[in-house]
Symmetry: D3
Subunit: 223 residues, 6 copies
Amino acid sequence: MSVERSIALIGDFYRQIHAVGAAPISIGGDHTVPLPVLRAIAGDRPAGLIQIDSHADTFDDFMGTKYNHATFVRRAVEEGLLDPERVIQIGLRGTRYGDDDTDYGKQVGLRMVTMDEYEDMGRAGVIAEIRRVVADGPTYVTIDIDGLDPKDAPGTGVPEPGGIMMRDAQMILRRLTGLDIVGGDICEVVPALDPTGITCINAANLMFELTCLAAVAIDRRRT
Amino acid sequence: MSVERSIALIGDFYRQIHAVGAAPISIGGDHTVPLPVLRAIAGDRPAGLIQIDSHADTFDDFMGTKYNHATFVRRAVEEGLLDPERVIQIGLRGTRYGDDDTDYGKQVGLRMVTMDEYEDMGRAGVIAEIRRVVADGPTYVTIDIDGLDPKDAPGTGVPEPGGIMMRDAQMILRRLTGLDIVGGDICEVVPALDPTGITCINAANLMFELTCLAAVAIDRRRT
Amino acid sequence: MSVERSIALIGDFYRQIHAVGAAPISIGGDHTVPLPVLRAIAGDRPAGLIQIDSHADTFDDFMGTKYNHATFVRRAVEEGLLDPERVIQIGLRGTRYGDDDTDYGKQVGLRMVTMDEYEDMGRAGVIAEIRRVVADGPTYVTIDIDGLDPKDAPGTGVPEPGGIMMRDAQMILRRLTGLDIVGGDICEVVPALDPTGITCINAANLMFELTCLAAVAIDRRRT
Amino acid sequence: MSVERSIALIGDFYRQIHAVGAAPISIGGDHTVPLPVLRAIAGDRPAGLIQIDSHADTFDDFMGTKYNHATFVRRAVEEGLLDPERVIQIGLRGTRYGDDDTDYGKQVGLRMVTMDEYEDMGRAGVIAEIRRVVADGPTYVTIDIDGLDPKDAPGTGVPEPGGIMMRDAQMILRRLTGLDIVGGDICEVVPALDPTGITCINAANLMFELTCLAAVAIDRRRT
Amino acid sequence: MSVERSIALIGDFYRQIHAVGAAPISIGGDHTVPLPVLRAIAGDRPAGLIQIDSHADTFDDFMGTKYNHATFVRRAVEEGLLDPERVIQIGLRGTRYGDDDTDYGKQVGLRMVTMDEYEDMGRAGVIAEIRRVVADGPTYVTIDIDGLDPKDAPGTGVPEPGGIMMRDAQMILRRLTGLDIVGGDICEVVPALDPTGITCINAANLMFELTCLAAVAIDRRRT
Amino acid sequence: MSVERSIALIGDFYRQIHAVGAAPISIGGDHTVPLPVLRAIAGDRPAGLIQIDSHADTFDDFMGTKYNHATFVRRAVEEGLLDPERVIQIGLRGTRYGDDDTDYGKQVGLRMVTMDEYEDMGRAGVIAEIRRVVADGPTYVTIDIDGLDPKDAPGTGVPEPGGIMMRDAQMILRRLTGLDIVGGDICEVVPALDPTGITCINAANLMFELTCLAAVAIDRRRT
């Protein structure tokens, strides 16, 4: 099957990157991408996860398949790639197809921050909560661009109104400086759905921030 | 005349919907649409009105005609379809063609909330004020999509900078749960002016919220 | 050289406008435009400057030339057209090509408000700071549309994520009523990069606000 | 009524242009515009008409009004502004609302060239037929941009698939050099529906060609 | 599996339409759609096929699955829904993933008209060839919008440069009047990739032509 | 100066490509790009040139500079990189800034084919003329995407109505198989001006054709 084969190929590639001590920062592609990346870099020790996203991506299956953009977090927990106690999901919202995703999250102990809770906590509160959840362990950052509000990221497959503002996403990332970041990605950017270019510009900017975080972390690990 | 005839035809159609006890949720179309809908559903008892809009739509005439998107609120008050004491207009702003619209609003007692006042009150204050004004009586909700800020709704005929953010519009609607909603609409969406699709996505989302409000209200009226 | 010649021609034109006592409100065009305008209207007495912009425009040279959109503020200070003590720059942010620009600003005493400081001060604090810096002297207002966040102004050459919201820009301008405004401009609007039209709509709206400010100031100077 | 008043105001303005011997080249605006222009410049002697358009614009009334973009040719013939024997309409096609328009054209003798006949004649044949119909008398050229195929002019209100290619429109106009052109216009361009800008570019180019035709004609009339 | 289930559901629905003697005209959706439609209407007697498309859709499998937009013609021939001797494919072109598709077509006798052959034959020649191939038997018409040139249909998933012009597609369809059309469809239109709207406008227009063809055919079958 | 420095850097890079016997196919970038490429690959022996373009690019200077997109052909002839007797320019048209460009072309013997002559010759005639002009010598192919009609390439800086159709550009390139192609490029593609993506799709397709031409030529040179 082609999806499984793609996942295997991606995993092989990232194992080479991981072998040289680099922290991969990737740009997707659909939100299945983090799974093979985590297989490559978190195989020896489960990672924490900071996930900016409107969807939890913890369904057991989605439209009849097990490996896709709506299931990767669950697969990664099941495979022991993520430590569920060190996973935080920020920006959850939107219409739902069932409760299987969040039920699973509650069961294994993912920290799920809906937009309502996000607003109640405020930006500083959210940053503090992220730091509390992932603490000092190795941490991966995944950004589904649909975590942003559609006015900041119209160029994506499943936009969900009422999301995180770009300025806040920037500031949240910057305030994570010092965490032990082992990699990151930005997924679900679709340039063909982005006539103004704003989604690409914002995604590039967030990738820049991720790269800075990873650079600081690598520097720390070396010293 | 074609506009008058269209209004009559729309009214006839909505009378059939009203007759079976349904609460119509409509998507326009120009902001004349609520007038025939109100004739159908508020004929027996004047309704309250929650109006999210950048314009008050209370001119006596506009470009030489009496029935159009800039006059429907005044016509509805004159015809006894709306109880002016139970009308609240949120998001008013923009350059003006004259004072006739707001003068009328003051005269008959409409509650007009400009963007400046909206900011001073805060979202929670606005929600409380809406609930105070419309209270327990039957209430119609009309959303001119230009009530939103143009970055949330560029696809409309008369965008006015400096408006309501989509997240706030969502939350205002959700907090109206429990009011006696008898119908609602979203007007002035122009897909041909919406190359990113954000206006359509946001309008569909607000329609979903309206439908939830109406469903709860119908359920209450039945029990 | 064509740029220098264009600058000279623009200066000549504005001198005629200035001669009749008018306060020019211009729409650009690249952000070199304010330089010849200031030469025409601030030749006799250095002006203060309120600059909404993501870039300081104070490099000494940029891509090998001295007169361009990245150097105009420095040139104007050097030529004695601006009083550096009465210059305030709001919205500074973004990736940088060097420190030469902000180093210069610090050296001559420009008041540089980055987005981080902007957030800390809040809108009311920024308005108060503007009024403190420019005080009662003659003041020019220049708006690089990229000072706004890209969702409010995607149609520009160098969009920088995480900027000023349109509503705030409107309110900042309105609260400057009463200052001695001698002219203003909005630059870097690129309609061909603006498929939704929002950049043009917002720019037109800000120009309307600038015109009101200048009208009040002219009226005051006459009385 | 506002439409009638607008038509009167436009007519007054063009009378001043006509009085100084100029041949007005206008850009619309809806296709009602040629009526007041013709009143100003063809009042003394009926003009011939070269009309590139997908619609004949010869209905008696349209949506209940007499003066609009679907009736202007009929009104102009009735008012004696056009000599029906010297009118040629090129590019007619599309779904229809009735036969009243083409029935009228047949009755008064307009030369109607449908797209099918256009293809049969070929470009050179069409040019020859235009020259035969309008001959040496004073002639007005009106271009409804929807006469072009939608791929050459998507930015218009009523695009009709299967129309004239831009290259052919250019060449037809150029081959009219030497006719006694007394004015012309390009109508129905809607920039907000033109995200690629192609409609505006093509309209500007055709306006350039019209201007050249008028310049040659004025030069001839003077000598 | 969801695709197979969708196909089954679509087939059930079309069987009801077929049962009342209607000729279904459908708009897709991906180019798998014709398969269940043909199962419903060609189950008793194999149909002929007129296919306007840049791809032959005759692969045996595509990306690991058997039922999709790149295989439907082969599946329909295998299932006896199409008479391969009465299938004609017009507009074939583009880069290829293998020869399996056209090899199959040659083997079972499909009439494949590439763009090169299309140009050599000319529009009238193509129309004559279509009539010769499908002759008097029941015939289905399927249009993959990517058969058109991208300038006539940018809003599709796999645009292929150098295709059929819209005017020609219109005229080909019109000249098929009198054939025994039993249904038709237009697939692969993607509004989100169509910021100018031209793809939707052209698709709607072709659907109108298809409907006319089917109406004439139904009328003939009844008399 | 930065332009001269960029040109030098590009030339150094291409010299490395040329040194290994490869035929570079480049995508620009502005139409200055071919100059350093030609310096790298045609230094030893002047090349012929097939140029698809709406402008001749043979001005002596343009807006005060010598090295830019409007002068590269002239510079290349002057530097002995091109054999003027083996240069053919196809698709010339549009408004002009002066006659200096075509005067130069006539003087040194460039074969200039305007759109009018292109139409008179027909596609086959143009192909024959190209083969006659460049004959068997080493030949470079440069495509300014504005040589295409704007409906095939709206995403460019200086679109000129009435140009070459994409299908014809494809076929012209394919018919050049067998010429001694030493390299090629496609310039002036601007993705930010291409909301439908058609310019990028067509440019990628032409690049594919160029690559095929070069591959055949390299294969021939090796045998």
